[in-house]
Every structure is written in C-alpha cells, then in structure tokens.
C-alpha cells in the first residue's frame, strides 16, 4: 500500500467499556459503549456516523481522536498507531485532528473574545510568529464566513450560527487533516443548520480534510457524507453509500430509521419500532437489535451477526436475515402505521 492509498484514519475492532454503579448502594455494572467498531476514513472523505442516543457514536468519536484509550483494538492515524492520550506525541498530533461539538455556546469561553479563542490552538502548538498567527486567524475567519470585526466580540454577542462558525474556525486554524464533528448542527435553528452544512461541505472539499460527521439525522448525514455507517448499541450494523442506505436500507434497523424520517407528502407507510431505545447496560444476547426487530429469527437471539459484505450486492451489513443466512422470522410483529 502506498502512502497515498493508506487511509488517513483506520480503527480496528475498537471496544470501550465503562463501569457504572446503579443506585446509591447498587452493584457495579459494565456498560460496553463501543463493541468492536472498525472504520476507515480516507483523505478528502467524509464518513457519516448515524444512530440514536446511547448507540456509542460519540464514544467512537472520542476513541478515534485518542481522547480516550480503547480497551481493545487500535487506532492508526496516518499509518502510525495513535499515541496515548496526554502523551507528548499525542499532544503534537492534536493539531492535525480537531473536534467540533454540538453546543457552540458551551464549547466557547464566555469571558474571552472569539478572536482570541480562535487563535489559542496556534499558541498552544506554538505555530508561527504573532504576526503570522494574526494573519492565520484573519484568514480562517474569512474562510468560515465571519467578519473581521467579529474577532472582538464575546460569544454571547454573536448569533447561534456565528458562534458555530467561530467553533469551526478554531478547529480549522491549525489546518488539521481530520475534523471530527459531533452533532454540529443539532443545537441550531433550521435556517442556520443549512448554513453550517453548506459550510462544512465547502470547507471539506476545498481543504481536502478527512471528516467524521456524527449525527442522529439521516438527512444531514446524506447531505454531508460520502459514506454512511449506521450504529446500534455499540456496533456498526450497516455501511454503504448514502443513497444506498437511504433508498434501499438492508438492515431492519436502518429500514426503521429511514422510514422514521419525517418527509413532506410522504405516502410510504412508516415502520414503527416497538419498545424503547436499548439500554447499553442491559445488552440483549445475540443480535442486540433482536428484541425490537420485526424479522427476528431464532439464530438472531443467540448469535451476534458480523459486519460483512452481503453475497448478493456486496453491501456491508450485520444481519443474519439480510445476509440470507436465515429466513425472516415472525413478520407478524411488524407494525405499520
């Protein structure tokens, strides 16, 4: 494999378990938040990671950035193993991989003008002379669509969209190779969401970064990503091109997610999943989705399906039924509204 073919980021069989205590005198339970996640991101590629709360998508984001160390598996960045969190090697890498959070107001320091905050990564990583730093801050602010006078404003004096632009500018100021966005638009108003989505697509194309876009919103993921991975309870259950997943989802969970997208003039019947989102502390055996799955077969209750290409068309899906290994179970449970 030549350097240009080597993925920017590759994560192999990542697993992360947390210990929690239930109640004041409760026993300690192990929660496997991420359970065997493998993913790669190439330079110039955006991978969308979609799933519901508690599915482990944010933990996956922290693992690939090395903010948390996986209990199992390995992350490689630019061909080399990720150094441990807090080590000098990791600190040096951090300027090449940056993170954008959901809520811009809590990601920014309310007491400092945003210009200083955008500049801070350059100071931390000792990049350039003060004059060069000034020039870089001005440049990146223009790139994200902020006016020069915004530099002197405090976060509360900016609108929601401007704040998220400032957060993105701060992440981009060091010219990172990888940008991880964790629900970057969910806290924003609808009209502002479109602005930020356009900005992310445009910046990614222009700067050629790799991007991991974490979201619960399949519409937004389609708009931004080149490839989509659907997560359920700590595992990737399906992976493919955005339109493949949206128009012909293979995994029953992806099918339910797609059919739950509210859509003007929608005529197709909606698959309403039974039951609550699963509790990672109480992971069902076999396929974790089987208690809510409309096509559960006997084998799904005992054997965890692996993510692998489907024989018919090569779609990567972790489902015994979609793989054609077992016949669909009781379809009677499928409730259409």
């Amino acid at each position: 494999m030549t350097a240009s073919q080597m993925p920017l980021l590759s994560a192999q069989d990542l697993a992360r378990t947390y210990s929690i205590r239930r109640g004041m005198a409760g026993r300690v339970t192990n929660v496997r938040a991420v359970d065997g996640v493998t993913l790669t991101i190439a330079r110039g590629e955006t991978l969308g990671l979609v799933g519901e709360s508690g599915c482990g998508k944010s933990t996956t984001a922290r693992l690939v950035l090395g903010i948390e160390r996986p209990d199992e598996g390995q992350v490689r960045f630019d061909g080399a193993p990720m150094p441990g969190s807090g080590s000098p090697g990791w600190a040096a890498l951090r300027k090449r991989m940056q993170l954008v959070f959901q809520d811009p107001l809590s990601a920014l320091d309310r007491r400092l003008p945003v210009g200083l905050q955008i500049r801070e990564p350059l100071e931390i990583h000792r990049m350039g002379t003060p004059a060069e730093q000034n020039a870089r801050v001005a440049e990146v602010m223009e790139e994200v669509g902020l006016q020069p006078h915004h530099a002197d404003r405090h976060p509360h004096a900016l609108s929601g969209g401007q704040r998220q632009r400032a957060v993105i500018a701060r992440a981009l100021v060091t010219q990172p190779d990888l940008l991880v966005c964790d629900e970057p638009i969910s806290a924003l108003d609808v009209s502002i969401q479109a602005q930020v989505m356009n900005l992310l697509v445009e910046l990614q194309e222009r700067l050629g970064m790799g991007m991991l876009f974490v979201s619960h919103d399949l519409r937004a993921v389609r708009q931004i990503s080149h490839r989509v991975a659907v997560m359920y309870l700590g595992r990737i259950v399906e992976e493919g091109a955005p339109d493949e997943i949206l128009h012909a989802p293979a995994h029953p969970y992806s099918q339910a997610l797609v059919s739950a997208i509210p859509h003007p003039g929608k005529t197709a019947r909606r698959i309403v999943l039974q039951g609550d989102p699963p509790n990672p502390a109480d992971r069902p055996p076999g396929c974790a989705f089987h208690p809510r799955c409309p096509v559960t077969a006997m084998r799904c209750r005992t054997e965890t399906p692996l993510l692998k290409p489907r024989p018919s068309d090569g779609r990567r899906v972790a489902c015994h039924v979609a793989q054609g290994e077992v016949a669909p179970g009781h379809v009677g449970q499928l409730e259409l509204s």
Binding site: V190, S191, D243, H247, V272
Partner: protein, 328 residues
C-alpha cells in the same frame, strides 16, 4: 364558528414585542401545525391564550374559545379551560413531571382536578389512560417514578396526563424534539391514533416542517412574532408563497436526487428589541425590494384558504388549481 379564534393577538415583554398581531383559528377536531424557529412566538401564542404568561407580559387582542373571551378573563373562566378544554404538553417530559411522585399519582391528581375522580375509579382510569398511551404493563408502571422510565415513556405519561381532562384540543409544544428518531415516530403515531379515537383537535408546535407535514392538515408558518403564511399542508409544499417558507423548505436536506448546496437563509432571526422596519424578514430575504423595508405587509389570499404576508405574493388566478387534501 371556529373552536378557537385568535384575533390580532399581541404580546410584549417591556418594550420588546414577542407577538406582533396574530390571527389564527382552529376548528373543532382539526390538526394544525405551527412552524417556526426559536423565538418566533409559536409557544408564546398558546401560553398567552391560556393566561399562563407572567404578569409582566402585556397581552392584547382577543382569543375566543367557543365564543367566550379568554384574554383578561377571570380565573373562574380560565381554570376549567386549562387542562380541561385545552391541554398542553411540552418538549422535555422529564422536567414537566414531578420527580418525587409516582406517575400514577400525578395522573390521578389531574383526574381529581378535572373530573373529580378519586379512589378506586381514579385508579382504574389511570391504568386505562396509561394503557391508551401505550405504556406496557400499565398496572405496575403506574407505581414507577419518572426517572425509572425512558424519555419516550415519560412523554407518553405526559400525554396520558393531558388526556385526563378529556380536552377538546391538545397543544403539543415540540413534543418529540428531545426524543430519538424512532421514538419520535412512535409518539407522532400515538397522537394520530388518539385523535382518530377521540376526535380531539391538535396544535402541533414544531421547528420541523417534516414532522408537522405528516401529522397536520393545515400549517401556519411564524416568523418574528407574526404568521407569515398559512395554508393546507399540501399547498404549503406545492406552492409556498412566502420567501421564508421557501427558505425553510430549501434548508431541509432532500432525501433523494442529486446532492447540491442547500438554499440557506442568510443571517439570523432579529432580536425582539431590534425589530427591523417594514417586513421583519426583509433583511434576510433574497427577493426583497425597496418597499419591503417600509411596509409591514398584511396577509393576502393567494388562493382559497391560503394566506401569505408578503407584498410580492400575488393572488393566484382562481380555478387554476384546487388544493388537494392528501395529508389529512
């Protein structure tokens, strides 16, 4: 006559206007969607109608419920309305429920208040309501505390509590915003079922045009304390006549077709204390002309049952198209 008739309602906090003249009606049993971004006044409209705003709010205009005026009405008029004839549920069920009381007890409180039920009949009704909103094993679950239930189940409990007063109209304020996508589908489905079973009317307040379009037959779009467009759902999507509505539709990523740049609305919502001259949307509007910053446009009829408050909206020639009710 409409069940609820709101005429020229205004609300101001100090010198900052939150609502700037709203006229809206809800028919008996109708499902109306109220759409807009944060701060546009979509929640304030209903809090003001039910007299639930703090005293510092200056409320003007008129809200008639079955012909009875609610604005400035005495508590003896308002109390049977709140939760009795018009019930409300909110975005975050966990903060609307009392964490130290069992959910059955909280629903029973509403039953005692609105229907005078106590003891065994109340207990039976609590279980029937929990059953109706799809809580499995209602008898046992009635003894649970809110923290023992998931967000979706807590929202079901809130709906059960709202149904306790047998309301004629349910105002649901972003009821699914805090919930996961698959749970949102369950709750919208439940609201539809309840409406079919009871004939209850629904006002669904949401920032998401998609959510509203699936649930409601008519939609009102709000911007900066005004209703800028209202029409049947199908007409809003087929023939959006206010540039803001078109902007909201363009801002929604499509689920099929080529992926291209979204048509986003530049800038952001004006602050109430710095409302622009003329049309409040003009500074962000790509179609604005000189007059837009001088005249605050009144709603014009673009076609039957379709109003838009834009000076560039022109009435359609009559008979060119009939609004179909595909989303009823």
């Amino acid at each position: 006559m409409a069940f609820v008739q709101i005429r020229d309602m205004s609300v101001a906090f100090g010198s900052a206007p939150a609502l700037r003249g709203i006229s809206l009606s809800v028919e008996r049993g109708e499902a109306l969607g109220l759409v807009g971004e944060s701060g546009c006044g979509k929640s304030i409209t209903w809090l003001a109608a039910l007299g639930l705003l703090p005293r510092s709010a200056k409320v003007g205009g008129s809200v008639l419920l079955d012909g009875v005026e609610l604005i400035g009405a005495s508590p003896s008029v308002l109390e049977p309305v709140r939760g009795g004839r018009i019930a409300m549920i909110f975005q975050d069920p966990a903060s609307s429920l009392n964490p130290v009381h069992r959910i059955g007890h909280q629903i029973a409180e509403a039953l005692a208040l609105h229907r005078g039920l106590t003891g065994a009949p109340a207990r039976a009704e609590v279980i029937r309501l929990l059953d109706q909103v799809g809580i499995p094993d209602a008898k046992t679950r009635a003894n649970a505390y809110p923290h023992e239930l998931s967000g979706g189940q807590n929202q079901r409990v809130m709906i059960a509590m709202a149904l306790a007063g047998e309301p004629e109209l349910l105002v649901a304020d972003e009821p699914t915003t805090a919930l996961d996508v698959t749970i949102q589908a369950q709750i919208l489905d439940l609201l539809g079922t309840i409406r079919r079973d009871t004939g209850m009317g629904l006002v669904l307040i949401s920032h998401d045009l998609g959510v509203v379009s699936e649930t409601c037959s008519r939609i009102a779009v709000m911007y900066a304390g005004r209703i800028v467009e209202q029409a049947e759902s199908a007409a809003i999507f087929a023939n959006p006549s206010h540039p803001y509505t078109r902007g909201l539709l363009g801002a929604m990523p499509p689920i099929s077709g080529p992926r291209q740049k979204l048509v986003s609305i530049p800038g952001s919502v004006p602050e109430a204390s710095r409302m622009p001259q003329g049309c409040a949307f003009a500074p962000r509007c790509s179609e604005a002309i000189a007059d837009c910053t001088r005249v605050d446009p009144a709603a014009v009829t673009v076609e039957a049952n379709h109003l838009a408050a834009c000076i560039r909206a022109t009435p359609a020639k009559t008979g060119t198209r009939t609004p179909e009710r595909v989303l009823a």
